[in-house]
């Protein structure tokens, strides 16, 4: 197993991309866990895949198409029923433009 270190700097960068606020303790433990897991995953480099096509999905046929017709009725009250914050017929979010 190779030794692939993921440092705190990388953990913070990835957390920013993933929209996760991490505590200092979480940053430290994730650095250790990800280092161990990525070191294990590096075993894939033992395989020569230069001439191998990637598998993106295992379905037999391609993606089927359908007619562009509306099949569901408007149901905004239902869609808003689980909203953590709402006003009238809208989802409420913090102000994003000063």
């Amino acid at each position: 197993m190779s030794d692939h270190r993921i440092d705190l700097e990388q953990v913070r960068h990835v957390a920013r991309l993933a929209r996760l606020e991490l505590s200092a303790e979480e940053e430290r433990s994730l650095a250790a866990d990800l280092s161990a897991i990525v070191s294990y995953i590096d075993k894939l480099n033992q395989l020569d895949t230069a001439n191998v096509e990637p598998t993106t999905q295992v379905a037999e046929a391609g993606t089927p198409t359908r007619d562009d017709v509306v099949t569901n009725q408007p149901a905004s009250a239902q869609m808003l029923a689980n909203a953590p914050a709402r006003q009238d017929n809208l989802f409420l979010v913090p102000k994003i433009i000063e």
Binding site: I41, L44, T55, F91
Partner: protein, 486 residues
């Protein structure tokens, strides 16, 4: 009729209901009473829905009285809490979904409703189906009915435990890397993961879309066939769902195994496997030979790379699928001064440790500078793993392996070491990468009395042969089943 109605199989309950010897309401009452008696110890359910269940049971009894009962009329089921159920809270065992109440049914839930099935409640699981022990649940772990100090397996541990402990007649789970087969093995029940695309995933909360598949937990192979008859088939809401016709799986259970060729991959009998598991699998293979099948050694040379491949692809897909939990439209919201802070805090407080770990790993694998080295590399190795199976199936009709290298482990035993937890899926993960059907059959018990599972793997869309072989083994009397003493 009195007695332990909750112990019935689907096939037996179906006959008693059709003859009106029992009612759907009696059967539902028996299951809910059983849950009330044992679930404090097992924690197999997150949410119970008794009033909805009794309403469904009353409707089922009316249809039975009219004589127009559909296939599953009056059969009480447990549903993994990953399926959207209209009007019944769906959590995916996560705090981030809060008190989410779905406005619509998953396709398979709608089909089961139409077939007359009854939903007792929502079964416990690892959060977002990420885990192999059901310990990663925001609602506490599910315990194994055979030994309360051990895990039920995961991620569909609640469904497996509920069937094993007779809290329901059958259950639904999902399987992304072994999440039906491993808990089925640990709890001594049947669990089937159909071919990817055989069953609709619409309304099933997504973990890794190219790997996720819906499937049943049952007390017998016949029951698995009966449930799959209702679950399988094309769905206009899921464009990946196969348009192939659905055979009658129950009719495939002929008991005839003459001429069947079973491949045994040499890479699956390696150091690290518990001796009693290996002995039990070898004995099951002998039984298959006695039933008229032939075993042949096959090779799956890239087996050793499956876990590394899986933990890149599954986490990459998960990091994208879980981006939708942002605290805006549903679920938990933790306030912040701006949207970004709101997202970051909502996700920080809403997701558990394992989910965060996988989002981080997947985001890393997809991030600039690492995409080719990890994500693309893993997609290529996935091709090699698929080819291994294609070659092996040139020589055999089914492949037989253990489901897991050990029986159920102790609660807490693997929680400190994520990599060790991942390695418990070593025999099931390749099947998802190759998109194949796989099934877990109870085939023995170790000296501690814990169940052992035999895995059968079929070529794409050959659930019939797999179920026929499972049923033939089961009904040959090779194993005397020992219900758990919960």
């Amino acid at each position: 009729m009195t007695g332990d109605l909750f112990r019935l199989t689907i096939a037996a309950a179906r006959d008693l209901l059709a003859r009106r010897e029992i009612s759907a309401q009696e059967l539902t009452r028996a299951c809910l009473d059983r849950i009330a008696e044992v679930d404090r110890r097992l924690n197999a359910f997150i949410t119970l829905c008794p009033s909805e269940a009794f309403a469904q049971a009353a409707a089922a009894d009316e249809r039975l009285a009219r004589g127009d009962a559909p296939a599953l009329c009056g059969i009480p089921l447990a549903i993994k809490d990953i399926y959207l159920t209209r009007g019944v809270r769906t959590t995916c065992a996560s705090k981030i979904l809060g008190n989410f109440v779905p406005p619509y049914d998953a396709t398979v839930i709608a089909r089961l409703r139409e077939a007359g099935a009854i939903f007792l409640g929502k079964a416990n699981m690892d959060e977002f189906a990420m885990g192999s022990s059901s310990e990663n649940s925001a609602f506490g772990p599910t315990r194994n009915p055979y030994d309360l100090t051990r895990v039920a397996g995961g991620s569909s541990g609640g469904s497996a435990a509920a069937v094993a402990a007779d809290e329901c007649i059958a259950a639904l789970g999902t399987d992304t890397g072994g999440s039906i087969r491993e808990p089925a093995s640990f709890c001594g029940v049947f669990g089937i993961k159909p071919t990817w695309s055989r069953v609709s995933r619409y309304g099933v909360i997504a973990f890794a879309s190219s790997l996720d598949q819906v499937g049943p937990f049952t007390k017998t192979a016949r029951d698995a066939a009966i449930l799959l008859n209702t679950l399988a088939g094309v769905d206009p809401h899921d464009s990946t769902c196969a348009a192939r016709p659905v055979p009658d799986y129950e009719r495939a259970l002929t008991g005839d195994l003459r001429g069947l060729m079973i491949g045994v991959p040499r890479e699956y009998f390696v150091a690290g496997m518990a001796r009693e598991v290996e002995d039990s699998i070898r004995a099951a293979l002998k039984q298959y030979e006695a039933l008229g099948a032939t075993t042949v050694e096959v090779t799956l040379p890239h087996t050793d790379y499956a876990i590394a491949t899986y933990y890149i692809l599954a986490t990459a897909e998960a990091s994208a699928n879980l981006a939708r939990y942002d605290g805006i439209r549903y679920g938990l919201r933790v306030p912040g001064d701006n949207n970004i802070e709101l997202y970051n805090r909502t996700r920080a407080q809403g997701f558990g440790a394992e989910v965060k770990r996988r989002i981080m790993l997947g985001t890393f694998a997809l991030s600039s500078g690492y995409y080719d080295a990890y994500y693309l590399k893993a997609q290529k190795v996935r091709t090699l793993i698929r080819r291994d199976f294609e070659r092996a199936f040139e020589r055999c009709d089914l492949i037989a392996t253990p489901v897991a290298p050990t029986t159920a482990f102790k609660l807490g035993e693997k929680m400190a070491d994520p990599l060790q937890m991942y390695l418990s899926d070593i025999f099931t993960i390749s099947v998802n990468l190759a998109g194949l059907p796989g099934l877990s059959i109870p085939c023995g018990y170790d000296s501690a009395g814990m169940p052992i599972g035999l895995q059968l793997i079929g070529p794409p869309f050959d659930e019939e042969t797999m179920l026929r072989a499972a049923d033939a083994y089961e009904t040959s009397g090779a194993l005397t089943r020992r219900p758990p003493a919960v």
